[in-house]
């Protein structure tokens, strides 16, 4: 399935680029550009690319713009994407590190709904924030929040995780309450993959499975491990797996990345990726229909 990853590169001078990505010599390559895969959208795109290779499917496409936080690159990308939407023959999109902007978000979403045939919509990072902020969260197929972001989704008034109200503390023991609250306020996608000490795979306010093994403490500190998880899930979706199964196997594989690499909190996500093939194999071996909570 053709899939588009949409996000930014942390360099204001990086141009707007579109194309199929590949990974060579530890760098993400798109057209003539080589990009460091330390974290963010380059880490997600590189993981998806490597995972797709493990699954023997074509690499994803990416639409990337340089943006170090001022938002100019994101707006350029949004504008271009609306223009070319009718030509994007994609079965799915994974939106990632982008400057939250409700007006542009709505233009993108409405262009997809007007011009494409119901592609799968995955949102993580800044685009998940703006999807919630817009009031159109329920139009998405999958969000991938961590516990702090889950609290934000549960707070109907918060425009950003920074303003999540104090009674919605990042308390892992209350994840199920936060999930219910997010759905009751229509601030959740149809599926959630909630990342934490225990991961939750959710569809329409029903917890389908949980994953807590293997647990590797250091993974929480390593930048890019959320990106690698979204990348693996994206690859499984590209391979045609249903969303709950893609999320469950993605979570297991991401945990095995940690187990096999045995990292300290000083590791980079790039040091985990050599174990991707074995981790994904493990996630498929351990999949048991209707019996996947650990």
């Amino acid at each position: 399935m053709s899939w588009l990853i949409v996000g930014t590169v942390p360099d204001d001078d990086f141009p707007l680029v579109y194309g199929q990505v590949r990974v060579e010599k530890g760098l993400l390559r798109i057209g003539p550009h080589n990009i460091n895969i330390a974290r963010g959208t380059p880490a997600l795109a590189a993981t998806t690319c490597l995972a797709a290779s493990e699954l023997k499917i074509d690499a994803p496409y990416a639409l990337l713009a340089g943006d170090a936080g001022r938002g100019g690159g994101s707006r350029k990308l949004y504008s271009h994407m609306v223009e070319i939407m009718g030509d994007l023959k994609m079965t799915g999109f994974t939106f990632h590190y982008l400057q939250p902007d409700v007006d542009w978000h709505n233009k993108i979403l409405w262009a997809i709904q007007d011009k494409l045939n119901s592609p799968c919509l995955v949102a993580d990072a800044g685009f998940m924030y703006v999807a919630k902020m817009s009031g159109f969260a329920a139009d998405y197929d999958l969000f991938t929040p961590d516990i702090g972001e889950m609290s934000f989704l549960a707070d109907e008034t918060a425009p950003h995780p920074f303003y999540t109200r104090g009674f919605l503390l990042e308390d892992e023991s209350k994840v199920e309450e936060y999930i219910a609250r997010a759905y009751s306020e229509k601030n959740a996608a149809r599926h959630l993959m909630v990342k934490g000490v225990k991961d939750y795979v959710v569809r329409d306010d029903i917890i389908l499975s949980t994953i807590s093994e293997p647990g590797v403490d250091a993974m929480e500190a390593i930048g890019g491990t959320g990106d690698s998880l979204t990348g693996i899930i994206t690859a499984y979706l590209m391979a045609g797996y249903e969303i709950p199964r893609a999320c469950h196997m993605g979570a297991v594989a991401n945990r095995y990345l940690g187990l096999l690499a045995n990292p300290t909190p000083a590791f980079s996500v790039g040091q985990l990726l050599p174990h991707l093939g074995e981790s994904m194999e493990k996630s498929r071996e351990l999949w048991v229909p209707d019996g996947n909570s650990s």
Binding site: T8, V9, P10, D11, N36, A38, R39, G40, T41, P42, D67, A68, G69, R70, G71, G72, Y97, Q99, P100, D101, V102, D103, N106, A125, G126, F127, M128, Y129, V130, K132, M133, S134, G135, F136, D146, E149, F152, E156, T157, A158, P159, H160, P161, F162, Y163, T164, R165, G166, L169, E170, D217, E220, A221, I222, G223, G226, T264, P265, A266, S268
Partner: protein, 182 residues
């Protein structure tokens, strides 16, 4: 709140969701005019409005701005010697930023989390070994600047970031410094 919603949704196609706008309250009208000019020069989408009646302090004009750019706004105003009375969310001007930190001790490493941002330091060398979390585009940029630097010599997120994620990272960074001072 009805008043707030009416003035800040006027002319907008947005029909649902929460507001992505913030408001800056100033001491004097002259500051509003200067700030508006500076923020517009920086390419920010700002508008001068009347203040909501609930806000008693400050002058009789406020500036509405994209709340995601709060850190950039604060930085621009600070550089030009403007010290606003307050910056608040339009959605509910009583919203307070998160103020609690989550701290995790890995033995050799210490991680501090503020809102959605985490910073991790080697306790012995005080090197910043990782920055994680967040979702705005300045996060990977700040991580590239800071990882590998000594905690007390690293470029500060407040001076280099632009968004609320950058500001969250700054809070985590300040808390880490406070803890590592012993």
């Amino acid at each position: 709140m009805r008043f707030l919603k009416s003035i800040f949704t006027k002319g907008s196609k947005k029909t649902r969701g929460v507001s992505e706008r913030g408001i800056i309250v100033f001491h004097h009208t002259s500051e509003v005019i200067k700030a508006e000019s500076l923020l517009k020069q920086a390419g920010l989408d700002v508008l001068v409005k009347g203040p909501p009646p609930e806000i008693q302090s400050g002058c009789d004009m406020v500036i509405e701005f994209p709340i995601i750019n709060q850190l950039q706004v604060v930085d621009i105003l600070k550089k030009h010697g403007i010290d606003p009375v307050q910056l608040v969310s339009v959605q509910d001007h009583l919203l307070e930023p998160v103020s609690l930190y989550n701290v995790k001790d890995f033995g050799e490493f210490l991680m501090v989390r503020a809102a959605n941002m985490k910073i991790t330091v080697d306790k012995k060398s005080l090197e910043i070994v990782n920055v994680s979390g967040g979702g705005c585009p300045d996060v990977p940029f700040l991580a590239e600047l800071m990882v590998g630097q000594k905690l007390f010599e690293a470029p500060e997120p407040a001076g280099n970031g632009q968004t609320l994620c950058g500001y969250s990272l700054h809070l985590a960074y300040e808390e880490m410094k406070r803890r590592c001072h012993g």
